[in-house]
């Protein structure tokens, strides 16, 4: 069974600085997708960024980028120029590329605090 691990329960960053959130996963599959979701205090789940396993190029969305290391099964999220609105819980998630369920498997989450 696939598992996702986020080893940092809490992180903090100074406004305008850069922070990296870690995520590792375990799978025997070769075809899968990885996601980072943001959950602000409202508890709405918001997609931040996604990565296809077969793509070597790391995904980037504005201030958000990932470091995808497939052999190491690592998928970290880098937030550049941190803003107060980035403060939230961040979840790493895995989805298989096969079958017809598409369920997401989430990590435990990392709470990010942004200091002004």
């Amino acid at each position: 069974a696939q598992t996702v691990t986020q080893s940092q329960p809490e992180m903090s960053v100074q406004e305008a600085e850069t922070v990296t959130l870690s995520c590792t996963y375990d799978t025997s599959e070769s075809d899968y997708y990885l996601f980072w979701y943001k959950q602000p205090p409202s508890r709405q789940m918001i997609l931040v960024i996604r990565q296809e396993a077969y793509k070597q190029q790391n995904a980037t969305e504005n201030r958000f980028s990932v470091n995808f290391q497939k052999a190491a099964k690592s998928f970290s999220l880098k937030i550049s120029d941190s803003q107060l609105g980035d403060a939230a819980m961040y979840f790493c998630a895995y989805r298989t590329g096969s079958g017809n369920t598409g369920k997401l498997i989430f990590g435990q989450g990392t709470t990010l605090q942004v200091k002004p």
């Binding site: 369920t101 997401l104 989430f106």
Partner: protein, 114 residues
């Protein structure tokens, strides 16, 4: 922009009572999901629904749980006899197709079982 909606936003019920949580997925989506998040914990998969049937369910999704898509637009989660440990945030999500596509989440229903 289309969105997933959920009602109610907060449901309070007595232990042993039945509850129905409602979701309206994005209209042209084909895959539907329920997840739950106990306060302070990770989001856990409950069930996926495709082509009018359950495609996968987790160990949490026991006989007390059921899902239905009664009219082609709503997607409901029923808990037959609630327990204290069912208190959680329940998220509905929908997805257009497999692959690279995003699951869109609703705002959640907070269920409190007393």
């Amino acid at each position: 922009e289309p969105e997933v909606t959920q009602t109610p936003s907060h449901q309070v019920t007595q232990m042993g009572q039945e509850v129905i949580l409602r979701c309206v997925p994005i209209s042209n989506h084909l895959y539907f999901y329920w997840y739950r998040q106990i306060l302070g914990q990770k989001v856990e998969f409950l069930v996926s629904f495709y082509n009018n049937e359950i495609s996968e369910k987790s160990e949490i999704f026991d006989d007390q749980f059921s899902v239905e898509r009664p009219d082609g637009s709503n997607f409901t989660l029923k808990i037959r006899s609630t327990k204290l440990e069912d208190s959680a945030m329940y998220f509905c999500a929908s997805m257009g197709s497999q692959g690279y596509n995003e699951q869109f989440f609703g705002p959640g229903t907070r269920l409190t079982v007393l």
